[in-house]
Amino acid sequence: MADGANPESSAQGSGETRREFLYLTAGAMTVVGAAGAIWPMIDSMNPSADVLALSSTEVDLSPIEEGQSVTITWRGKPVFIRRRGAEEIAIAEETPLADLPDPQTDDDRVEKPEWLILVGVCTHLGCVPLGQKTGESRGDYGGWFCPCHGSHYDTSGRIRKGPAPKNLEVPPYVFLTDNSIKIG
């Protein structure tokens, strides 16, 4: 098989700069074109318009009694809503910040102390902690207990013991009336 001749290799002089410039421009445009074509495909994997349209949900709180917890679905994840009793609130509020791996006051985590609203996903590796149903383990601090790797959360959903690095996340929500909220 014969190797091709390359007449350009002997070419020198004035044409050189112009040729280099053309090559550079050609190469750059190819790269820009490819990137411009690939971006829409990558972006297509982001949440679509119909998914974003369902990204908020309204909840009626009136049927929930004191001490009761309910789980609802928001953006495909469980959201824990607990109507806390006076004792639970007191424990949550009086815990010294020094005892907390991720220090945060209870006041920062609720709109109204009676209602604790949390994303029910353990901040360690994404399991759903126990403690919503009566009879389930609530861990050492009376809140939630993640069975996957043993993280304990308190009555404010704050991490107290175990591998999880952060407190349970509080989703964005607003009270529409005294008895209904909109999450998201």
């Binding site: 098989m1 014969a2 091709g4 001749a5 050609a26 297509s44 679509s48 119909d50």
Partner: protein, 403 residues
């Protein structure tokens, strides 16, 4: 191999897996005839189209649902809600057509310049295999949106197999996974539509290995005799291919952004309805010549055989055309018949889009007969008797200097 490096890591890899020198050889120093015209751009354009189809197809598969109740709406969800979904889906739709345009021109170029002749017979046959796989893939892909044309196209084409004597009915039932085109059919078509393109890639690799063994044909149809006849792939043909790609994409973008449904069929925006057949069922444009051949024969089995025969005859073409001269440039009679063959093929395509009635039927029969006449009688029997080829130049270099 002229690839050398001072980088120790690269050299270490190179000694164990010569990937870089292979790439260097294929895309850099590989010798190409220096007299190629723009018709030699369509191989790389077809390759570009294949990659585009695979990339957009994988993205679409992430959003598509292969179920009879959800397929149609999942495609519409892509068109409406998925970010840039309309763009990706329209690229996939229109690039399918442009893939066929590139491949048809590539095939016609091969026919005109005798690129199927020794020593390129296997190269040509691999190309025919790619063409067949493309047709199967395109057909199954068209079923996926589950519109009226999807459904009835699938019904008609799968029913072709019922023409096979004795076992035909069982084969069709097996293809369907039921007693009509239904959910199992859609599911398997989706699976195969996802699989076949990768098999095409594998055959394309073989096609290129064969090409690099026998090197490219050229408009003169004579072999390269030394460095004076050739150019290295880089930069000559990389730049030329990129320029060709630019022109190709400009045409493509014209359809994509201003007439994305032009090559499609309005009926496919109606969800599939197994109880109501549209007034005119026609396949996508790239199948029309073969569809015309199918309908030209007034016998079920005969029509199916004629259609598959139209492609099978391409497999044996290297031995049907007995002329030692490759390029039609030096074959004054074959050249004329090439153009007649091309026009006849276009005419078949036109007829395939018309209803099977009146003079269209007779015309299809004549055109079909001519198609086979060209390959089976004209090339092997008549041309050798009447054609006196012109004298070949002694080398590519000399011919280029003269022009």
């Amino acid at each position: 191999m002229s690839f050398k490096t001072n980088n120790k890591v690269v050299q270490w890899v190179e000694d164990r897996l010569p990937l870089i020198s292979m790439g260097h050889h294929t895309l850099y120093e590989y010798p190409m005839p220096k007299n190629l015209n723009y018709l030699w751009n369509f191989g790389s354009l077809a390759g570009f189209a294949l990659v585009t189809m695979i990339v957009t197809g994988i993205i679409l598969a992430m959003q598509y649902t292969p179920h009879v109740d959800m397929a149609f709406n999942s495609v519409e969800r892509i068109m409406r809600d998925v970010n840039n979904g309309w763009l990706i889906r329209y690229i996939h739709m229109n690039m399918a057509s442009f893939f066929f345009i590139a491949v048809y021109i590539h095939i016609m170029r091969g026919l005109y310049y005798g690129s199927y002749k020794a020593p390129r017979e296997l190269l040509w046959q691999l190309g025919v295999v790619i063409f067949l796989l493309m047709m199967a893939t395109a057909f199954m892909g068209y079923v996926l949106p589950w519109g009226q044309m999807s459904f009835w196209g699938a019904t008609v084409i799968t029913n072709l197999f019922s023409a096979i004597p004795v076992v035909g009915e069982s084969i069709v039932t097996w293809l369907w996974g039921g007693f009509s085109v239904d959910n199992p059919t859609l599911n398997r078509f989706f699976a195969l539509h996802y699989l076949l393109p990768f098999i095409i890639v594998a055959v394309v690799v073989l096609h290129i290995v064969a090409l690099h063994t026998v090197t490219s044909n050229n408009p003169l149809g004579i072999d390269m005799k030394g460095p004076q006849d050739s150019l290295t792939f880089q930069p000559y043909y990389t730049i030329k291919d990129l320029f060709g790609l630019g022109v190709f994409l400009i045409l493509f973008a014209g359809f994509l952004f201003w007439a994305p449904n032009y090559m499609g069929h309005p009926d496919n925006y109606i969800p599939a309805n197994p109880l109501s057949t549209p007034a005119h069922i026609v396949p996508e444009w790239y199948f029309l010549p073969f569809y015309a051949i199918l309908r030209a024969v007034p016998d079920k089995l005969g029509g199916v055989l004629a259609m598959f025969g139209a492609i099978a005859v391409l497999f044996v073409l290297p031995w049907l055309d007995r002329s030692k001269i490759r390029s039609c440039k030096f074959r004054p009679v074959a050249r004329v018949f090439f153009w007649i063959f091309l026009l006849n093929g276009l005419f078949l395509g036109y007829l395939g889009g018309k209803p099977a009635e009146g003079w269209y039927v007779v015309a299809s029969q004549i055109a079909t007969a001519y198609y086979f006449f060209h390959f089976l009688i004209l090339l092997p029997v008549i041309l050798p008797m009447i054609e006196r080829p012109r004298e070949l130049p002694s080398s590519i270099h000399e011919a280029v200097l003269k022009s």
